[in-house]
Symmetry: C2
Subunit: 300 residues, 2 copies
């Protein structure tokens, strides 16, 4: 790498992720050969459906609002009344009652995961994740000095609790789950979550500190055949949830989501402070103002 | 810090930046005592003026656009036609002719600086900055393993070229300037830029590699009394510019800006690749879609 002007790590990343580019190129070639309608694009979670009418109506009305300050800076966590509306939504999904301060509005769930890892990881600390997982998780942990530790899952893609238990050691800072899972589609059921929580509680007691459960759930609302995604927070106080409106509102380009922390999480004050600071110093500053207002209205 | 569940570094940052919070609190106290209209708020660059009519008109029309895909994922660098429009604007401001690929749309200039540092800095590499400077620069370099090296300026706040020259060593990756400067208001003049460029060229030759000139210029359009901000790129091919529309359009909460690289910059392909990858993996993914379209229209 001598003489190259960019960071060595980034040069390596581009080299090693060139298979993704090759996949895109192959997709484009196939579409050209067989017609775009005959090739299913699994490369990115780009919803095919248009945004719902409620989104469009809210967007048009809010875009025409000329009240002074609607496009201004705000607290790094987001507009207070938006966070209040999101807290109510989290209460419905998770069976606990966070308040507005437990919510940090983010540039999507990718922004959410980055500020979570920035806030909690010391150099070399590990995040355990069941396989298969969204490949970007490797980057998100590495960005902030951490390390992703993938562990096996069961044959039906459910959580292999023993594998997670075996992977926990003194470097473990968090376990990251993604339900419904991308790419397997599996929803982790209540019993499985309870077993996982017991493992985290016991390991946390043994290590004398917190092991966080981080849940990345942008697909929570995209479930079919009468399925629902079980609530997480009611089982474990050290839970941090991040999600986005990208998939359920079909607006992934608008970069809007949030982080919600359990109202009884360990070191709640410092953790919320660190998430706010991370949002600020990573350059997000705050989630886009206009879309905060739109999603709060559509969600409520 | 033993036992605390957040990252030690973030806990230290919160401790050491508590003077900023104290400044905000003192401002709030003074406003309460003397009336808000009698206290000038210099704490954040939050413009007092409303966005211009052209912004409002473009926003309303673009918000009502229901063309499929307008809120979808896109290339990490942004919408191609938006980047083409921005490239034309950069050509007008900087006297060189970048093309659309030389532009990466970002979540403001704060997002821009973060992806630049992520793209170029190896651990321990240094970024020289003339004092006084925007305090967040410390965080932006540290986020990506780099170190900010402040150097003195002249008594009139102009660049002290000798001080910069003396600070350059084998760890120097870039010099960061901010013109018009926040907080001094100074505009670095053409002669001064030419002298700086000569220093960078000579040092780069001696070290056998590139020293980047990074220009953070969100206040470029906010100059008075017939002043203009001299173009930078025409003097030095290794220039990376970042800016935002936050101040000139009064929309800092919307998080929209861009990075522009010189079309003849060293390692252009890898650098652009690294900026794109950084935008993706830091969780920005892409700048907010709707605001990209609005600013392209207002700028052209």
């Amino acid at each position: 790498m001598a003489g190259i002007s960019i960071a060595d790590k980034m040069a390596n990343f581009m080299e090693s992720s060139s298979w993704i580019r090759k996949m895109f190129e192959e997709g484009a070639r196939l579409k050209k050969e067989h017609g775009a309608e005959k090739v299913c694009d699994f490369s990115l979670g780009n919803p095919d459906l248009p945004p719902p009418e409620a989104f469009q109506t809210a967007l048009e009305r809010i875009a025409s609002d000329r009240t002074p300050g609607v496009h201004s800076y705000m607290p790094n966590a987001g507009l207070p009344w938006v966070r209040e509306s999101i807290a109510e939504q989290v209460a419905r999904d998770h069976g606990v009652k966070p308040d507005a301060d437990d919510i940090v509005m983010t540039c999507g769930a990718a922004g959410g995961l980055n500020i979570i890892f920035k806030a909690i990881l010391n150099p070399g600390e590990e995040v355990i994740v069941p396989r298969p997982f969204f490949v970007e998780y490797h980057f998100y942990t590495d960005n902030h000095g951490g390390k992703l530790v993938p562990v096996r899952c069961n044959h039906d893609f459910s959580l292999d609790i023993d594998a997670i238990k075996d992977a926990i050691d003194e470097r473990t800072k968090a376990v990251l789950i993604n339900s419904p899972n991308n790419p397997s589609g599996v929803i982790y059921q209540d019993d499985s979550i309870k077993e996982l929580v017991q493992v985290l509680q016991e390991a946390g007691q043994k290590l004398g500190r917190t092991i966080f459960l981080i849940s990345d759930e942008p697909y929570r609302k995209l479930v079919f055949s009468g399925n629902t995604v079980p609530p997480l927070m009611k089982h474990y106080a050290n839970t941090i949830v991040t999600t986005s409106f990208s998939k359920d509102l079909s607006i992934p380009g608008e970069r809007i989501g949030y982080v919600a922390v359990h109202p009884e999480i360990t070191d709640r004050g410092p953790l919320l402070g660190a998430l706010n600071l991370a949002n600020r110093i990573l350059g997000f500053v705050n989630a886009p103002a206009l879309m905060q207002r739109v999603v709060a209205e559509v969600a409520s």
